[in-house]
Symmetry: C2
Subunit: 377 residues, 2 copies
């Protein structure tokens, strides 16, 4: 079957590009002598992540317990649930632990540590926990110099039902960097924050076997991971326009795209209409903050070749509007009614989440497989 | 079961509010003596739309063929697929027609009309088609004064495999209005464009039995639908913050919300963190263009009471950041770790699409039912 036979919109994954992206990141981290704990929140698909889970890179990071359930059902046991724990979820996690999942949680408050200890005692399990560190003032976590770190560490170490396993941080600020030098700086800051906290815990007589850091931009530009025991990253699998804007990848390396059909020409306005709106592309507009604003996505020919002059400039639920950048006029006969285009995503996690499966190709328009995704919670 | 027992995030639908929203719109359109062709793209759920489909309001509008399949499987036959037709979808539509669905398509070009006629002849069906009119320069359609209208009309009328059923227009610009007077104007313009086109077709000796208009804002503020044969609207079922900003509803009438758990306090930043990020709330930021910017959503207490001072100011994939508007400090003990809040959506269609079911309540926190949604294509 060929892409030209699919009902639009749908999500296309280029297997060759995926494999190259995986190899690049694994080789890079191997050079830095640190294992990868893949974040599966981007792919949410066992077939897409299997090529990563080789050698020492067999652990994963999840963003939902549904991901934990799904990947555990596919034989992956070493799982970090990297969203600050809500006590209501501990019973679910205990069930997974009873089945054999080695699932670790994260937290950044005394209240959470106490709630986890209490739940562990009640449910007859010991929850392994990492303390989340705020390395970039961006989201969650304990500041690296906060006395709270030791207070939480002691609680986790001494209370029953919970166990101190280390520290973790995520430099989300890396996605907002304006240049590579800034990412280098955020990467160093991310690593340093984690190492400082590990040192503080150890100095207080507390264990810190896991020192976990990561984001795709910092992982890619990091130069030194001494003292770090694992790196978390996930978006690099597919790459996206935001990462291209950060020089983490080239546009040609982006492995997913949305297949769309041309459904209209608004000649006076210079618009080509397609049937891929925000329901397909997502509402993500993260490149709007970058040097090159890619609208709702960059348009490619059916064979996947980027048409760098064309972006999806606006969307409604099931409509996308393609325009040509700048002043030059769009040639409508280049986009006949019924013809197909592919749209590269701003943010791979957001766009992929709008679909429940990938149609898999490998450099051509021939469909070689289809892989299910698991969305929701 | 109670909301307090649910694993977060999840989607809550208040049945009492839904029913009041439905009654309000049906009564309004009954006064204007025009039937409603409900748009099911917001609810995507048979239980949620059943209270609408009474009396003469038994037809629906769909935004995907998956919606058409699903609602047809629940006995609804009169279906308008209101996205400009892509020829690749005609075989699917023909299959639905063969099973008994009276499914109508829309188009706005000679190329589409020809492709539809050809497909109809090949597949042995006659596709009923409406010509899409561009009443507000907003998206798709033929301008009301364009000679193309008659050209397409003649083609639909005279070719085999296709049949001219009328005209339709959607005043999407109504969502960008700055005040009620502007919506009144857009509503009149929407109606006038459709009526003018119906008149032009009839003057050219062509039939125009269907004159279809609508959007929730224009439907609600319309004062006269003479000459219009049906009104399309869907978001009014749930209402949302965008519609509240347009005075179509009050915040208290919004029927859906996302249940979220508090997972962190960033005291120096004044942030309460929850586990409902953009994966739950969607990336929709449509209120950013309105007088009151509601961030990624307005925060309510667990019982659904809006806390008008608090909004979700930023999101990551599985994190939401609640802040207090203005300068006054947030009192963290009002949002203890593990406590639950409900977040009202900017755009009901976008937020609901992130979930595959509704937990149904009726004014309290007691869960009285759960209803499935159908997403995707």
């Amino acid at each position: 079957m060929d892409l030209a036979q699919l009902e639009t919109p749908c999500l296309i994954l280029d297997k060759g590009k995926l494999e190259k992206n995986i190899k690049k990141m694994r080789d890079h981290l191997a050079r830095l002598k640190v294992p990868l704990r893949l974040h599966v929140k981007t792919a949410k698909c066992i077939e897409a992540v299997r090529p990563v889970l080789q050698g020492r890179d067999k652990s994963i990071t999840v963003s939902t317990l549904k991901e934990a359930e799904y990947f555990f059902s596919h034989g992956i046991t070493d799982i970090l649930y990297a969203v600050g724990i809500a006590p209501i979820k501990l019973e679910h996690i205990a069930r997974l632990k009873h089945k054999g999942a080695d699932i670790k949680i994260i937290l950044d408050s005394v209240e959470q540590a106490q709630a986890v200890a209490l739940a562990g005692q009640k449910l007859g399990v010991t929850f392994p926990a990492l303390i989340e560190i705020d390395s970039d003032n961006h989201r969650a976590g304990v500041r690296p110099d906060d006395p709270l770190l030791i207070e939480i560490g002691r609680l986790l170490q001494h209370e029953k039902g919970v166990e101190l396993k280390g520290v973790m941080t995520h430099a989300g600020a890396s996605y907002e960097c304006k240049n590579t030098a800034a990412i280098h700086k955020v990467a160093a800051q991310e690593r340093d924050a984690a190492i400082v906290c590990a040192g503080r815990l150890q100095k207080a007589g507390l264990p810190c076997p896991i020192v976990s850091v990561g984001s795709t931009p910092t992982a890619w530009f990091a130069e030194d991971y001494s003292g770090v025991t694992e790196v978390r990253a996930g978006v690099f699998l597919f790459q996206d326009l935001v990462l291209a804007g950060l020089n983490v990848c080239k546009v040609e390396e982006i492995a997913i795209s949305v297949l769309a059909a041309v459904i209209g020409h608004q000649k006076q306005k210079g618009w080509v209409l397609t049937d891929a709106g925000w329901m397909a592309l997502s509402r993500d507009r993260s490149t709007s903050q970058q040097t090159i604003d890619q609208g709702y996505g960059l348009v490619c020919a059916l064979d996947g070749k980027p048409l760098n002059d064309f972006i999806v400039n606006a969307t409604n639920q099931e409509h996308g509007i393609i325009v040509k950048r700048g002043d030059s006029a769009l040639v409508f006969k280049d986009f006949p009614i019924g013809s197909l285009v592919r749209v590269l995503p701003n943010h791979a996690c957001a766009t992929a989440a709008m679909f429940n499966k990938y149609y898999v190709v490998d450099g051509t328009t021939k469909i070689i497989d289809s892989w299910q995704r698991i969305n929701g919670w």
